[in-house]
């Protein structure tokens, strides 16, 4: 049995075993989530996403290392890292290689790294990644860095989970049309152009900045067009509020050499402060918890239905559907 107190007191083996129980959906895992839930809500969840090979793991390594050194006189934050890599759709196996780039962090007891296979989830995270953050948050980690599967254009689950999303780009991955497509760029709170020592990095940064300017115009991300036209009539107070809207910074970094990391951390802190000052922190949490709750209800309803359904009746209805005597939509009405 896994001991919640041990986890709260920093027992790393208990924590690790709890994560396994959660990942495998064992009853012990559900109990531990329930027990730790009252202790959650304190950690800053920072997502790191981007295409394969842009340097996400290297960046996470540098971020964790620098965060641990930062802030003189203050206790450095306890950091947990969740690194998600894809599960093979053919064999169900996975090669989890993100630790290779995180060797600098070995030996630091203030850092806990867990690799996670996506296990069939398609949004860039695993189904249980959110549950992992509950455990790690409850265990007392101040900062949780979540590295997604190498993501392209549609893997945007991280935006719903993390408070702050860093999208990592690298030079040479596509023209400026890529930058105005929907998807991953839209979820960025901070855009990091990695490999700034390579040719084309400045151009990539410029293209991203142009994209952002186009998206926001002279206006701010939350304001609709009609509001902009009317903005001259607004009261000063409203003006001030609008001026505070977050505009994602575009930042050149060279993760392998640690260049630009301190500035990136400043932006992460700024974004956190922004969320807290504007009340968006609470709003995001509320939104996420609502979604989690809805998902759990859905799951549990399905399980309930599966437990109650008369298999013979189901087969009988299915047979009618297979023989095109009954449309599936009507069949659902018979079976629910």
């Amino acid at each position: 049995m896994i001991n919640t107190n041990a986890i709260r007191q920093g027992d790393r083996l208990a924590l690790s075993r709890a994560l396994t129980a959660v990942e495998n959906d064992e009853p012990a895992g559900q109990k531990i989530q329930t027990d730790l839930f009252p202790h959650t809500g304190n950690a800053h969840l920072v997502g790191v996403t981007g295409a394969p090979g842009t340097g996400k793991s290297t960046l996470v390594n540098q971020l964790a290392k620098t965060f641990r050194q930062s802030q003189e006189g203050l206790e450095p934050p306890k950091i947990a890292i969740i690194a998600v890599d894809p599960t093979s759709p053919f064999t169900g196996g996975a090669l989890l290689g993100d630790r290779i780039r995180m060797q600098d962090l070995a030996g630091d007891k203030g850092i806990f790294i867990r690799s996670m296979a996506s296990r069939g989830a398609l949004g860039g995270l695993a189904h249980k990644t959110a549950a992992f953050t509950t455990i790690l948050d409850g265990a007392g980690f101040d900062l949780i860095l979540i590295e997604t599967v190498g993501a392209g254009q549609a893997e945007v689950d991280i935006a719903r989970l993390a408070h702050t999303v860093i999208v990592v780009e690298a030079p040479g991955l596509g023209d400026d049309i890529q930058a105005i497509k929907a998807g991953i760029l839209e979820i960025a709170d901070i855009l990091a152009v990695n490999k700034a020592d390579q040719p084309g990095a400045e151009n990539t940064a410029l293209a991203l900045k142009a994209m952002l300017a186009m998206a926001h115009g002279d206006e701010l991300p939350t304001a609709g067009k009609h509001m902009r036209r009317e903005s001259s009539h607004k009261t000063p107070a409203t003006h001030q509020k609008e001026d505070k809207a977050w505009r994602p910074p575009v930042q050149l970094i060279t993760a392998t050499e640690g260049k630009g990391i301190t500035e990136l951390i400043e932006n992460i802190q700024k974004h956190k402060a922004y969320l807290q000052e504007t009340g968006l922190w609470q709003a995001k949490e509320a939104h996420r918890l609502r979604r989690d709750l809805e998902a759990l209800i859905r799951e549990s309803l399905v399980r309930q239905w599966e437990g109650n359904i008369d298999q013979a009746r189901f087969d009988e209805v299915l047979e009618q559907v297979i023989h095109r005597k009954l449309p599936p939509i009507e069949a659902v009405k018979l079976l629910l």
């Binding site: 599960t87 064999t91 196996g93 290689g97 070995a106 030996g107 867990r114 690799s115």
Partner: protein, 135 residues
């Protein structure tokens, strides 16, 4: 419903500088449906034991080509025990002289594989070891 995947840590302790064998075996285990955590070259025994703890693996596979197995393997085993990972099974692959194998097995290594071992055999041995544990 539980869906317990076999989790394996493949690690290279010590200073030997190539990891072809480790990558081949990592790939084979992946293809057998396991979740393989690969940590890269030049790991200390402490780093390996810590990674095994954080990743909660069932199996640790050590690849050693340098000849330092008699020193490195027992140290890894000790650190694993210190971390409370007594139930983790340790497999060793690489270049280990026949004469050294009995001592490694006696110290708690589950199996030792030399060059040219069929990866399928390693897969089956791991599956057997885990089944034995669960029964």
């Amino acid at each position: 419903m539980t869906d317990r995947k076999i989790r394996v840590l493949i690690a290279k302790p010590g200073l030997d500088g190539h990891d072809r064998g480790a990558k081949v075996i990592a790939r084979a285990l992946r293809d057998a449906g396991m979740e393989v955590i690969y940590t890269g070259l030049r790991q200390t025994p402490q780093m390996i034991a810590e990674a095994a703890l954080q990743e909660d693996v069932d199996i640790v596979g050590l690849s050693i080509l340098s000849g330092a197995h008699n020193a490195l393997v027992p140290t890894v085993l000790n650190h694993l025990r210190e971390n409370g990972l007594d139930d983790v099974k340790v497999f060793v692959g690489g270049i280990v002289p026949e004469d050294d194998i009995p001592e490694l097995l006696e110290k708690g290594v589950h199996a030792v594989y030399g060059p040219g071992t069929d990866t399928q055999k390693v897969v089956e041995d791991i599956q057997k070891a885990i089944q034995g544990q669960n029964e």
